[in-house]
Amino acid sequence: MRTSLTLKVIATAIAALLLQGCFHDGDSPPSSGTPPDDSPSLQRQFQVDVTNLTQNQAISPVAVILHRTAYQPFMMGEKSSMALEILAEGGDNNALLADANTNVEVFDTASGSAKIVVGASERFMLAGTSSEYQLSLAGMLVNTNDGFAALNGADVDQLTAGASITFYANVYDAGTEGNSEAASDLPGQGGEGFNAVRNDSDFIIIHPGVVSAIDGLETSVLDQSHRFDNPAMKVQVTRLQ
């Protein structure tokens, strides 16, 4: 547990960096009676701590996105975007972040510096100026065909300064690649990452889990250690300002 004093110190330390203004401008017209989106009183800074809770699934460098409710990285039961498919199949977050950075509903993004190994955490700082904030986040479980742990628009605008909230991220299946669990298809085993061919259901669902070779999937190279259950990731969000 960090103390509020520590939080204040961190907040002060990063304020200078974050207030330089790399945010996107809000483009919603202010409604009467509410402050415009660029009011200093609506500036927020969030610290995001992401922890890998799985037994033996490294999580590819995560994409972290702070946005308004109008942005959504994916929808349950719908087709995956190409950018999300690239992340889910190959662990490459560049396209998803690039898409987000061109979206006017997105305030700020951050990229993981490397994969998050089991039990490890990574910290991110994001900022924006708005009356509504949601956090989305995604990283591939690298020993799956197209499984990714994600938050899909978690509300963080109720947080008071200094307060924290913890979310737990489930694992989704992008539906873009059949779950062969074969070494040649798993980036975590040196296999292929993104492939534009879609040979699965082509809609996003909760991942059915890893079967593994020992449990009877003949094409699988995975063992019992690669199995997982929900949730796969802990995400603690602290509002610094």
Binding site: M76, G77, Q158, D173, I206, V211, D229
Partner: protein, 233 residues
């Protein structure tokens, strides 16, 4: 967590104002990889009614739904206590990844929502929501539902025509067409005979034998198995 905040808010509103009729838009999405939902029962009722409770034995009407997808008994139970029901809004099966949207009007004292639908192919698995206190403040609320096991039938994972009838061991149908035949049967016993969280299908890779008729690459799932979005108008 937002849902929790909103639920608490709703509680406060309920405590200070009389319950009233509500106009709800409800959307249910199947989040599984290869499991179909049988006809759905959505029911609003008073606080004293439960169609099932985790840790308690299933009623015979719940068993009928969980083993064979027949919601008529549970629907009668709800209507007998002046509840509001929407039966079979998807007009049959709801496929993996598919959604159904429907409207529900609730009466004054029916402040709770229960939703059930059998999971196919399973022996006695169902999606369950037990007496959710309905939000009363206009807005959109999202919930995630788990898969329960009715505890009334051993999960032998053998597909057998006609086994939807109560007391006939087996899975009545595998709608996706990915199941096998000739399985030896996984188990003949059920350790927990109360309603509990389903342990999931096991399946195997042998379409012409093995222990299970189910397919380990198709018929497994992890919770949650459904997304429920309620819009209070």
């Amino acid at each position: 967590m937002k849902n929790k905040h909103l639920a608490l808010l709703a509680l406060g509103v309920l405590a200070s104002a009389p319950a009233m009729a509500q106009d709800l838009d409800i959307k249910l999405t199947n989040l599984t990889h290869g499991i179909y939902f049988t006809p759905i029962l959505s029911a609003a009722h008073d606080v004293n009614t439960h169609l099932f409770m985790a840790g308690s034995a299933a009623s015979s009407n719940l068993q009928m739904m969980a083993e064979g997808g027949n919601i008529s008994g549970l629907s009668s139970d709800v209507q007998a206590v002046s509840g509001d029901v929407v039966e079979n809004p998807a007009d049959g099966l709801l496929a993996p990844g598919a959604s159904v949207s429907f409207n529900m009007m609730t009466n004054n004292s029916n402040t709770q929502l229960t939703l059930v639908t059998m999971l196919l192919p399973t022996n006695d698995g169902f999606v369950g929501l037990d007496s959710l206190e309905l939000p009363t403040v206009a807005g959109t609320y999202t919930y995630y539902l788990n898969a329960y096991d009715a505890g009334t039938e051993a999960n032998n994972e053998i597909v057998l025509d006609g086994s939807g009838a109560t007391g006939v061991l087996g899975i009545p149908a595998a709608p996706g067409g990915n199941a096998g035949t000739g399985g030896g049967g996984l188990t003949a016993t059920e350790s927990n005979t109360t309603v509990h969280i389903h342990r999931g299908n096991l399946g195997d890779g042998d379409l012409n034998g093995g222990a299970s008729d189910l397919n380990n690459g198709v018929h497994r799932w992890l919770n949650p198995v459904a997304q429920l979005v309620i819009t209070v108008n």
